[in-house]
Amino acid sequence: MNRNDWLKWVSLAAVVIALFLIPVFIKNPYWMLVLTLLWNYIIVAQGFRYIATTGEYSFAHVPLMGMGGYASALLVMKLGMSFWLALPLAVLVTAIISAIIYYPCLRTTGTFFFFASFAFGEVMRLCWVRFKNPFGGVGGLSHIPRPDPIHIPGLPIVEFTLFSHTSYYYLILVFMLFSVLTMYLLENSRLGAIAAAIKESKILASFVGIRVWRYEMIIFVIASAFAALGGCLYAHYMTLLVPEEFYWGLAIYVCIWAVVGGMGHFTGPIVGTIVFGLIKELLRPFPQIVPLIYGLILAATLALLPEGLISLPKKILLWNKRRLSRLRRDK
C-alpha cells in the first residue's frame, strides 16, 4: 500500500465516523429527516448507476423502488408480518417482478431500452392506481407501521417510533453503507469487468464468450433489489405511499442526480444526490425557483463537465495549469 492508498482509506474511515457522529451534533428533527431521506436516495441513485454500468439507463428503477415499498407495507399491514421479515421478502418479491419487467426490455438497447423500461414500469405503477383493493388507489397506503423494536437481551431496546429520529437515521445509514459497499465490491469483481465489457460493445462481449443476456439480467435484478430496499425503508419511514411519487418525476430526478454527479465514477451519484439535496434545502424559502436552479446546474454541468461534478477538481487543476502556462508564455 502506498501513501495515496493510505490517504484514501483514512479519509474514507473519517467520513464514515463523521456520518455516525452526525446525530450527536444535529438535534433538529427536521434536518435529521432531510439527511435520513438523503441517505435513502443514495441507495436508489447508486442502484441506478449500477444498472448504467452495462450502458443502459433504466426508467423502471423508481417504480421498482415503489414496488419494494408496497410489497413490504402490504406484507406488514395485511398479513401482520414483522418488518424484519417483510423487508427481505419484499426485496425478493421485487427482484422477481424486476426480472419479469426487464425480460422483454432486454430485446432493446439504448434509448429504446429506456422507453421500454418506462413503459413496463408505468404499467406496474398504474396497477397500483387502478386496483384499489390491496394498493389503495390514487390515495395510496397510509398508516404504514414503523419497524418493530429490536430487543437483544442485555442491551437497551432500540425503538423506531415516530419520535425516534436517531434510531431510524442509524438504520438507514447502516443499510446505505451496506448497499454502497456491496455495489462497490460487485463492480470491482468479475461481474463488474463483464459489465464494462458489455458497455463497451455487446457484440464484442458475446464474441469472447460472455452471455450478455444472462449477465445483464443478473445486474438488473441485483440493482432492483437495492431499489426495493430503498423503497421499503422509505415506506416505513414516511408511513405513507402514494403512486404519484413514483411517476417519471422522481425517475428523472434520480437520473439527473446520477448523471450530474458523474456516471463514470463510483462516487458520482453520491455526490450528485447530496449536492442537489442540499441545494433544495438551502433554497427552501423559495421553493418555486428550485427547478430553475436545477435546470441551470444541469445545463451548465452537461455543457462544461460532461463527466459530471465528480470531475470538477480535476478540471480546476487542468484550467489552473493552462492559465499558469499562458501566464508564463505571456511573460
Binding site: F115, W248, I256, G295, A299
Partner: protein, 285 residues
C-alpha cells in the same frame, strides 16, 4: 347508443389530431437531429398560454392569436435549439437529460409569468350542431377542421417545396444531404421551429377544450414518444397513423372502461411495440 359511439369517434379524431400535430415535431426533431426532446410538451404548454394571452387577455381575433402563438413558440424553440441542443446532436441520453433541464426552466418561467392556477380559455366556437339527428359539439368539429388544414399545409410544404425536400433528405442521410449542399444547421433549426409551431398549434387549439396549467407538458410528451415509437421513429406518415390509432384507443377505452385503463393500454403499447416490432408500424430497420 349511436350518439355515444359517434361522440367517441369525434373525440378520438380530435385527440388523434392533437397527437398528430404534437408528435410530428418530435419525429422531425428525432429524425433530423437524433435528439430526444423531452421539452416538446412545454412548447405545447407555451402555445396554450400564448393563445390564452393573445385571445383571452388582449382580445385579438382567434386565428390571429393562434398564428402569433405559433410564431412566438417557434422563435423560442429555435433559440433554445441553438443554445441547448446544438452540442447534443446525435447523443440520445445527454440530450434527454438536457431537455429535462429545459422542462424545469420553462415550467418555472410559466409559473412566474402566468401563476399556478388552472386557466380556462373562453370557448371560440360555442354551441352544438346536429348531424343525422346526433348532437355534436361545434368546437370539436372546428378543431378537427383547423388541424386538418394545418397538417395538410405542413405535408404540402414537406413534399412540394425545396426546403421540405432538404429536410426529408437530412432525415434519410445527413452526410449525403450535406454533400448535396444542404445547410444542416439551418435544417436543424427550422425543423425545431416547425415542430414547435405545430406543437403550439395543438396547444392553442386544445386550450379551450382542456384546462391550462404549467404542468400539462410532460404527460403529453410521453404520449408523443409512444406515437413516435409506434409509428416507426423517423417515419412521418407512420406518426400520423399511430397518432390516430392511439387517439381512438384512448377515446374508446376511456369511455367504455375508465381513463386509468386507457393510460395502461398506451403504456403497454409502447412496451409491446418496442420489444416485438422495434421498427414500428411503418418504419424501416
Amino acid at each position: 347508443m349511436t350518439l355515444l359511439y359517434l361522440q367517441m369517434i369525434v373525440n378520438g379524431t380530435m385527440i388523434g389530431f392533437q397527437l398528430a400535430l404534437f408528435a410530428t415535431g418530435l419525429t422531425l426533431v428525432y429524425g433530423i437531429m437524433l435528439i430526444i426532446n423531452f421539452a416538446h410538451g412545454e412548447l405545447y404548454m407555451l402555445g396554450g398560454f400564448a393563445v390564452f394571452l393573445f385571445f383571452d387577455q388582449l382580445r385579438l381575433n382567434y386565428f390571429v392569436s393562434l398564428a402569433l402563438a405559433m410564431i412566438v413558440v417557434a422563435i423560442v424553440a429555435t433559440v433554445t435549439e441553438r443554445i441547448f441542443f446544438k452540442p447534443m446532436r446525435g447523443q440520445h441520453i445527454p440530450s434527454f437529460i438536457m431537455s429535462c433541464g429545459l422542462v424545469f426552466v420553462l415550467q418555472v418561467l410559466a409559473v412566474l409569468v402566468f401563476d399556478v392556477k388552472d386557466k380556462a380559455v373562453d370557448s371560440v366556437f360555442p354551441g352544438v350542431v346536429k348531424i343525422f339527428g346526433v348532437t355534436l359539439s361545434m368546437e370539436r368539429l372546428a378543431i378537427i377542421v383547423i388541424s386538418t388544414v394545418i397538417i395538410s399545409a405542413f405535408y404540402i410544404f414537406l413534399q412540394r417545396s425545396r426546403f421540405g425536400r432538404a429536410m426529408r433528405a437530412v432525415m434519410q442521410n445527413p452526410e449525403a444531404a450535406a454533400l448535396q449542399g444542404v445547410n444542416i444547421d439551418q435544417v436543424c433549426s427550422s425543423a425545431m421551429g416547425i415542430g414547435a409551431a405545430l406543437a403550439a398549434a395543438a396547444g392553442g387549439l386544445l386550450a379551450p377544450v382542456f384546462i391550462l396549467n404549467p404542468w400539462i407538458g410532460p404527460d403529453l410528451t410521453w404520449e408523443g414518444f409512444i406515437v413516435v415509437c409506434l409509428g416507426g421513429k423517423t417515419s412521418l406518415p407512420g406518426t400520423l397513423l399511430a397518432a390516430f390509432i392511439l387517439g381512438y384507443i384512448k377515446s374508446f377505452v376511456s369511455t367504455l372502461a375508465d381513463p386509468m385503463v386507457a393510460r395502461m393500454c398506451s403504456a403497454a403499447i409502447l412496451g409491446i411495440i418496442l420489444t416485438l416490432r422495434p421498427q414500428g408500424l411503418l418504419g424501416h430497420e
